[in-house]
Amino acid sequence: MKFVAVSSCPTGIAHTYMAAEALEQAGRAAGHEVVVETQGAAGSQPLDPAVIAAADGVIYAADLEVQGRDRFAGKPFVDVGVKKAVHDAPGVVAAAVAAVEAAPAAGSSASPTAAVATAAPATRQVGTGTRIRQYLMTGVSYMIPFVAAGGILIALGFMLASVAWAENGAIEVTGVDAAVLWTAFEWGNLQHWAVLLFQTGALAFGFLVPALSAYIAYAIADRPGIAPGFVGGSIAGLVGAGFLGGIATGFLAGFVALWLARRNVPKGGRGVMPVVVIPLVTTLVVGFATFLIIGPPMKAINDALTAWLNGLSGGALIPLGILLGLMMCFDLGGPVNKVAYVFATTGLINAAGDIGSTEARIMAAVMAAGMVPPLAIALATTLRPRIFTEAERESGKSAWLLGASFISEGAIPFAAADPVRMLPSFMLGGAVTGGLTMAVGSGLVAPHGGIWVTPLISLPLLFLLALAVGTVVSAFAVLFAKNIGRNPQEAVLDDAESLAALSGAR
């Protein structure tokens, strides 16, 4: 969580700063972020309004009247005095966490002032929904660096490749064996540098689903969940279950490991549990379930959808574009997405380089739709940064590049954290872009590359227009969906922020 705090003391030269330091330390130790405004004798550096807006709660460690208390209106708080913060900062932080957790239940009124949560002792019981969300968020927060680093490196590889090769660089670079890097690297060869970027990024991307799975399991069962989670995630990738499969294996690994960890084991056997028995048994259970229970339906879905799509391919193009758009955004690399993508790329062989062929138009619609989710996320985080966490905002910035490069995975951190709200929003935009791309008649004879294969796209400006419309639609759908089903207090906060933003108060 994120907290803002105000510290002050009568003299303003010692306890004010000790409290600030102790709160920041205790926050870090507990995995929270605490930013303190010291209202002391050395002058007060007011908190950045954006930091206040992003904060989940407020800690008053102030023996003097808090200056500018109205800045914090509407946020849950604890008011503890400066001495308590100096002597027991961890306890203060824990109380603040409890106050935040208790806040939604407390603030059921729609009036901003009444929505202020009190610091009354809070039950520490966290609801199932909240806990599932925490598990997902933990997994996502560990996955983001893989997505950001891997996606950007791949995109940079595409960019460099489109310079390094005479034509079709973004396609060529993916066909070069990585072994060239350690067996025949030429320091002056731009193509080799593009391969270095692409291969390094691709390796990082390979950990995307395993890391998501592993850290969901870690959030549930602590360290014994990590190894089974990684294995489950990599099997989910192998059987084509995508990130939704990785979420499933993460929860499975986590709860199996947790269940095993809670068994009563004779004292002599306790040491062997977390090191050998729990990872072994959990990995076996997860391997069994993922290979044999998750895997076969993936194949069945794949076969059935592929047959169905092939049956449709003679029909009207615009509905087909809409359908492919929906499929591309349904699971971002999962079985449904994969069917649509493979359907398009295998068709390219029949296109035989004819950019006006039906097959080329299908490929264009599929790529455009696949670019929508990360671009929509990038746009949404730019339009209303306050409803996203700081990590999400930063991840959103890199999503511009990932979307432009047709790296749909850039949207996975958002989809994994909140699949029920995000995936339909992506699908809406994907359907719009898929249908429009068909309508304008763009074609594409390359299997990937995003804007880096623009020379291979016919009617490129209309292609980009179709992409832009779907992106805007999807971004607004994301923002709208984010407000559905949120508790009243959150909504109140958003409204207060919007008002403040409109009135120019910030």
Partner: protein, 152 residues
């Protein structure tokens, strides 16, 4: 003394034996008076006592931290006493073996006050307190504080 350092070795007393917190505070005030940093010992002592009466300044880790802003202070100063036998400063975990007296002028300029703020922040860190507890002599104490707190 506008550019006087916060602390010098002659503001550090080691191996102090003190009856109570008032006693050790008085010794430190005397050091400040001798260094010309405090003009009126009794007046400043009264300010420190008033602050101490509001809330005991004992800190976890064997630290006593009497302090005041006072018109009798000419330059922001830190005086330190090491009290091996300990003296009670109202800390929950026992007597203080390291006593810091912070003296701030009532109208102190912001830069100096920022140094005091930095000192207070460092005091929360156990490693800083440990290094002070272990400092062998007055010079070492003054060096540690100067190095860790004062921006170079």
């Amino acid at each position: 003394m506008p550019d006087a350092p916060l602390i010098t070795p002659d503001l550090v007393a080691v191996d102090v034996v003190a009856a109570d917190r008032d006693d050790v505070t008085r010794r430190l005030v005397d050091l400040l008076v001798a260094a010309g940093r405090v003009t009126d010992a009794e007046g400043f002592l009264a300010d420190v006592r008033a602050r101490e009466a509001q809330m005991a300044t004992g800190m976890p880790g064997g630290i006593g931290l009497p302090h005041a802003r006072s018109e009798h202070v000419t330059v922001p100063s830190l005086a330190v006493a090491k009290v091996p036998a300990g003296v009670d400063f109202g800390a929950p975990d026992g007597p203080a073996t390291l006593v810091f007296l912070i003296a701030a002028p009532s109208g102190g300029d912001s830069d100096h006050l920022k140094i005091l703020a930095a000192l207070a922040r460092r005091l929360v860190h156990e490693s800083f307190r440990t290094s002070l507890h272990e400092a062998p002599d007055a010079g070492a104490v003054a060096d540690i504080v100067t190095r860790e707190v004062v921006p170079s």
